[in-house]
């Protein structure tokens, strides 16, 4: 068994997931490819969104892949870090906004 949970070489093996379930795997990759085509959003914008989401789901493979992709599509370091801050703000905000629920509950329970 592998000693490490994450191995950067595994990113290259991602397409191999079709080995265990071909039909769904292929559907996923087809969809994935279509999502990242240039559309109403540019490839650079999509890369930055993916980079931010990668930080939220804390996927090291996606962080690697979308750091490269962002560089290749011409994003600057500032843009990349701002995308990570957006993810961070939403993550933090998502916890904090539940504080209102906590306050509501505390108020309900309090005399």
């Amino acid at each position: 068994m592998s000693k490490d949970y994450y191995n950067s070489d595994d990113l290259k093996k991602f397409p191999n997931v079709t080995e265990f379930q071909e039909e769904l795997g292929e559907k996923f990759f087809k969809y994935y490819g279509a999502v990242f085509e240039e559309g109403a959003l540019t490839k650079r914008e999509k890369s930055l969104i993916a980079l931010a989401v990668a930080h939220t789901v804390q996927c090291p493979y996606c962080i690697d892949a979308y750091s490269s992709e962002s560089l290749e599509t011409g994003a600057s370091e500032e843009q990349m870090m701002e995308a990570v801050h957006v993810a961070t703000a939403i993550r933090g905000g998502a916890s904090l906004v539940h504080g209102v629920q906590m306050m509501n509950k505390v108020k309900d329970l309090s005399m």
């Binding site: 650079r44 490269s68 290749e72 370091e77």
Partner: protein
């Protein structure tokens, strides 16, 4: 920073560079050979379509020492084309099939015969492109060159790795960005970038071990950002891929990126880009007058095919047009993705 050559670095030896690309370790040994790859698509041996661009490397001396430089240029390099060799180039240019003269270096402006040569070539009615690093145009000694360029309608193609200061300075040295911006403003004031006769192009290459993105979208971004921050105009942006040779190869080795970078180039192999590589319409002349298939082969000391003539003094365009082009693993850099040549993406 010193050049690899001045440091006595082993990578200043082209044979060592090619050896690394071919057999540094198992991964590189098992990388498919470029020749096989182009055989599969019926392009081996690679041959010219028709040469129309005459690229002259007038010397390896440069006022800068950028980290990725495939020429290993710098202030410590002494190789400079003599007036005699320049005259041999002029004689070769009598062939009407050659339409364009592309001057490169080092900093081509540092050749002492540069101005005389540009005037002579223009007199022959050929288009002249100068590959300028921009910073040299902000020095006292060369500050009057923009006027000279405008007077002779020289097309100026200059390097700017990125539209932001941080990444530009990272590759080309502290202060480069600000100087480049001043030089671009001077060129703009002369009409470069707006007057159709005064073409101003920028060259973008990735600041690191990744491929350039789409030329079209990057051009849009560069135009928007440079105009927004500095009011700068230019005509085209050319994206070029860093070839794994010389100082960029050194960076790839030192940073542990070489194998992944080669994989990336091979995976991105594009048959359409392969058929549009610049060695098919360009010939490259070195400072000492030898002929090469391109500026990269020049740096790797891979001369043109023996039967085609190997020195500008024996220039024969018919023979050159029929020669086989010499290729090796570095050529993957020209065929990855949208392709890469001196004029940017090829597909």
């Amino acid at each position: 920073m010193k050049s690899l050559k001045a440091e006595g670095h082993s990578l200043s030896d082209p044979r060592i560079q090619l050896d690394i690309l071919n057999q540094h370790n198992e991964r590189l040994k098992t990388t498919p050979k470029f020749e096989e790859k182009i055989s599969e698509i019926g392009l081996y041996p690679l041959q010219p379509n028709e040469i129309e661009i005459f690229q002259i490397n007038v010397g390896y001396m440069c006022n800068m020492t950028c980290k990725h430089c495939h020429v290993d240029a710098g202030p410590d390099r002494q190789e400079i084309m003599t007036k005699e060799t320049l005259k041999q180039c002029l004689a070769a240019l009598d062939d009407p099939r050659i339409k364009t003269v592309d001057l490169t270096g080092g900093a081509p402006e540092m050749n002492p015969h540069f101005r005389w040569f540009v005037e002579e070539v223009r007199r022959k009615g050929k288009k002249v492109i100068v590959r300028s690093n921009l910073t040299i145009l902000t020095t006292n000694k060369f500050g009057d060159l923009p006027d000279f360029f405008a007077k002779h309608k020289v097309e100026v193609t200059c390097s700017l790795p990125f539209y932001s200061k941080r990444r530009t300075d990272q590759q080309r040295g502290e202060g480069t960005y600000d100087k480049s911006v001043s030089a671009l403003k001077i060129l703009n004031d002369l009409g470069y970038g707006t007057d159709p006769e005064l073409q101003l192009n920028l060259v973008n290459n990735p600041v690191g071990a990744f491929l350039p993105g789409s030329q079209e979208t990057l051009e849009e971004q560069f135009k928007k950002e440079l105009h927004r921050s500095h009011g700068i105009h230019f005509n085209n942006l050319f994206t070029i891929t860093n070839l794994p040779i010389s100082r960029f190869l050194n960076f790839l080795l030192m940073s542990g990126n070489l194998e992944d970078y080669m994989d990336k180039l091979v995976q991105a192999f594009n048959p359409a880009a392969a058929s549009g590589v610049m060695c098919r319409n360009t010939i490259s002349v070195s400072w000492d007058g030898y002929l090469y298939d391109c500026d990269f082969n020049q740096m790797l000391e891979i001369k043109t095919h023996e039967k085609a003539g190997q020195h500008v003094s024996e220039f024969d365009l018919d023979k050159l047009n029929q020669r086989d082009i010499k290729t090796d693993q570095h050529c993957y850099g020209c065929t990855a993705g949208a392709g890469s040549s001196c004029g940017g993406a090829t597909t």
